[in-house]
């Protein structure tokens, strides 16, 4: 996995609450058996005026000019400013895959749906949690200034604004470590193989029905 320590970039808006994973990446794109290539279809139904199909060349599709991320000022956005309960709905990891493939490295929102939040960390995408008031401040500053740029310092757990002031954010130690070091989580778990085997032995002795049922 890609490591994440610090990122500076243009912020772009997704200014509504409860953005669901169907909105982030509509279901027709989940038919792919690959992990990449979802970026052109991020927010597909909002971004384009026609109905997107998998495998299509999106460069010739009619674009919804009213959709904020389509505006030239947000063209290079790599930080997504969003509202509460971002990523609610399904467990599809295609949602963080699409955000990452589009070019986002960070999302900033007051809260996230649990599964989506968890999925982000597996893909080098940092979901930052700030308070609603702090997110409001960022939205206002972004709306007021073209090329509004933020720096996310994961090591110091800070969102640094253009005026040099910053907001601190909280994050679980284990999630932070994995991201900062770009760790292979499976490899890490495999180091506990003996503990897993030991657990299985104990469990099988007391609850034999747990093992061997499916053949």
């Amino acid at each position: 996995m890609k490591a994440f320590t610090q990122h500076s970039g243009i912020a772009g808006p997704m200014d509504r609450a409860n953005v669901d994973t169907d909105m982030i990446i509509p279901k027709q794109f989940l038919k792919s058996i690959k992990r990449s290539g979802f970026g052109p279809n991020l927010f597909d139904e909002l971004r384009y005026l026609d109905e997107g199909q998998p495998g299509q060349d999106c460069s010739h599709r009619p674009v919804n000019k009213d959709f904020p991320l389509n505006k030239p000022r947000y063209k290079d956005a790599s930080i997504l400013l969003a509202r509460k309960n971002f990523g609610c709905g399904s467990s599809r990891e295609h949602a963080p895959w699409a955000l990452e493939d589009y070019g986002f490295r960070t999302i900033i929102a007051p809260s996230y749906a649990d599964i989506f939040y968890n999925n982000c960390f597996k893909n080098g995408l940092l979901p930052v949690i700030l308070t609603e008031q702090q997110v409001d401040v960022l939205f206002k500053e972004m709306n007021a200034a073209q090329g509004y740029q933020l720096t996310i310092d994961l090591v110091a757990q800070k969102v640094i604004r253009p005026n040099g002031e910053s907001f601190d954010f909280e994050i679980d130690v284990f999630r932070k470590d994995c991201l900062v070091q770009g760790l292979d989580e499976i490899g890490l778990t495999m180091q506990s193989a003996d503990a897993i085997k030991e657990y299985e032995k104990t469990r099988e002795a007391s609850q034999p029905w747990v093992f061997g049922a499916i053949k």
Binding site: R16, N18, D22, K31, P54, R92, D172, S192, I214
Partner: protein, 477 residues
Amino acid sequence: MSGKTVYDKLWDSHLVKKNEDGSALIYIDRHILHEVTSPQAFEGLRIAGRKPWRLDTNVATPDHNISTDPAERAAGVAGIPDATSRIQVQTLDDNCDHFGIKEFKMNEMGQGIVHVMGPELGATMPGFTVVCGDSHTATHGALACLAHGIGTSEVEHVLASQCLVTKKMKNMRVTVEGELGAGVTPKDVVLAIIADIGTAGGNGHAIEFAGSVFREMSIEGRMTVCNMAIEAGARVGLVAVDEKTVDYCKGRQFMPSGDIFEQAAEYWRTLVSDADAVFDTEVSIDGNAIAPQVSWGTSPEMVVPVTANIPKVEDQTDEVKQKGVERALEYMGLEGGAPITSVYVDRVFIGSCTNSRIEDMRAAAKIVEGHRVSSSVKQALVVPGSQMVKEQAEAEGLHKIFIAAGLDWREPGCSMCLAMNADKLGAGEHCASTSNRNFEGRQGSGGRTHLMSPEMAAAAAITGHIVDVRTFSGEQS
């Protein structure tokens, strides 16, 4: 020290290792796979040169992407019209064959929607940790399991190690006491809960559903409720074990039998929250007051009782809510203040992992029996949740009732719940749907979903508009 909740007990009994950084390694007893969220996980295993840790824990089936059309289904995988869908289903078959994972293939007895299949085959047992790359995995919590959805990276993690790295959730108890009125179903109970606590109300929590309403509810009804825990933001929803749980498990294909079953049942009966257990969050709802519920908007919290009117923008308390209601009304093509029963439906969908079990089929059949689908309804689909549900329904003659009333009787799959196959809404069409999500575009680009119970959806199919099933007479208006 205070007592333990069911969730605490499940957590403790699956703890392999606590890490210093606050995370924990949790053992997974059952892993269910389907075609959409597994191909990249299998590919990851291959690239890393890893093998599944334990084969006898995995069970797979295709459900999301497959056709429900009987003729197309009869043609097998080759009969799936869409090439990308066909490749995905074929990839699941190939991966399961390659790694030696038990799969119920598309037309095999046992196949079904993952969350219908697991419990009915007895692959889901009380006290288990159950995961699947699908957010509605909480369904299995009806059997007192710690069950939740995972992403594809975690599918790979579980395949490789039989464990997940995770953090303990908080405990929430939703208590519904009282007695449900006639025509009020488990679906109405869970929609009322979501309307009450909101779609983020359960974030970070495992919800235990408690109280007389759930004690009286069938196991299938409890599955409908737990299924939608995620729509209230909770990854996990569960109900404690009682004798209904134990009876449900008896005789199912993968369940133990004889002395081992009795030994298991003795353990299962301990899976109740201790009297002195403390919940981080408590919610209480009056079961007597719940009416049949219908969603009017684009989020599962946008729900009203069938007797109510659609909300108005100006009645909302804060600006974010006003914006949300305004946008939802616009998308749904509805007028704030109009009765919800004034909404006409173009299509009806009875199915999904929420409401496609035999009790749902029976309930819907009872409503439509002797009536005809309204001429204004373009299509009314009945999609049984599994091959076993289909077989049972046909043995009871339910399919004949549906067909005589003008509904389509289909092959099992996820179908119009998420419209990955050809079963979908056209832009602007309203649908009376027994599924779980009414997000924009969920059932088809521009489609307008109204979530409700199978009884309510069946009644809407006959009258052609949303109608209170308690006063439904079968007359078209």
